[in-house]
Symmetry: C2
Subunit: 222 residues, 2 copies
Amino acid sequence: MTQAPAPDRGARSRDAILDTAAELMSRYGYAATSISMISAECGLPPSSIYWHFGSKDGIYVAVLERARIELLAALPPVEVPGADVAQRLDAFLAEVEDAFRRHPHGLKLLLGLGMVQQDASAAAVAEVHHYRDALVVWARDALSAVFGLDDRPEVADELARFTLRLASGTAVARWFEPGVVLETRPLRVALLALAAHHNAPARGSSGGGALSCGVADGEYGE
Amino acid sequence: MTQAPAPDRGARSRDAILDTAAELMSRYGYAATSISMISAECGLPPSSIYWHFGSKDGIYVAVLERARIELLAALPPVEVPGADVAQRLDAFLAEVEDAFRRHPHGLKLLLGLGMVQQDASAAAVAEVHHYRDALVVWARDALSAVFGLDDRPEVADELARFTLRLASGTAVARWFEPGVVLETRPLRVALLALAAHHNAPARGSSGGGALSCGVADGEYGE
DNA sequence: GTCTATAACCAGATAGAC
DNA sequence: GTCTATCTGGTTATAGAC
């Protein structure tokens, strides 16, 4: 009941602006989100928003930076626990699916800009690439750990690209139909088949050749 | 050398506006593309643009409609030729990859709006969904024909979703790095493994059980 | 740090001559 | 069908009191 001495009123306002901006920008995109909209939604006048962030680009950079930090914190650690490939993969996929469901902002922000490369401020472009690069590195390292691909970086890269592109595409689908989730069952089948196709060592699995798959390499092989 | 009697000057202007708008909107998104930009780029004054399309929404609808028609015309026909699954799948993937490479506008327009659902005009929303639905139907029918899934519509749906999401995600990646292509090799492995996982009949293939895959169903099965 | 008020500008859209 | 000129309203951003 202390009557709001509010030593940190500034920080709270800053967060409120950031929350509102993240919500609106991930819904309408950067260009279509105006300062007036943010102001009306969060209650603070435009001048306060400018006091905190300096410019519209500044808001965007701050929003994206926070989304990146939150998303990376929510993603599974690179060293997934599990004795064999199947266990690690299941743990990995469960956590990815969960992060995807609980952090709808992340990818939508990256997509919903409408200004990714051209005409944007250098800081905004840098943050966009920072965000994206962090995701790529995380995916490569995590999948490398899951499949034991320390000595096959190009395979880990392919699995990472595949996973991230499927996740991005699912984020696009969720844009059109809210409620769409990342389908981990087909992704699981696909990742196992891809690893087998490359004769991944499957270190820690029950057997060296266990991942080989007749379909991919045999009858229908390239 | 006929000195431009130009009986179809209107149609040519309309096309020029459409070309410019498609280029700009797929690059910057709908909201960030202004009438002035289109006017400056294509040479015609704003009033001419409004005479042809009535409103900014009208331009967007026309651009999207044309992109949809062009993309669908470029996609492989539903009935892919080929005696067995492998042949049909290869033909299918080759054409999809080609269409993806040669029609960079399509997906970027769908993504780069920043206004997909809310606040947009009813006509724009309808055209966006028309576009998307046409792609979904095409993918389901084509993959159903490739794998012989007439009696397994839910499997065809899953393969279609998988393929389209991977393609959408790749379109997003291409947004960041121009030159990115649709990787059909991993997609091929994944689709075969998914079909095998569902015990797809593989009608027209060399054998009924040929698609079964030890990895997906056996040791690591769910 | 937050507010009211407003400057400077550019957007989408229209009027009407030709 | 195309042009010049313009209206109205919203946009980013700032000034200055509190």
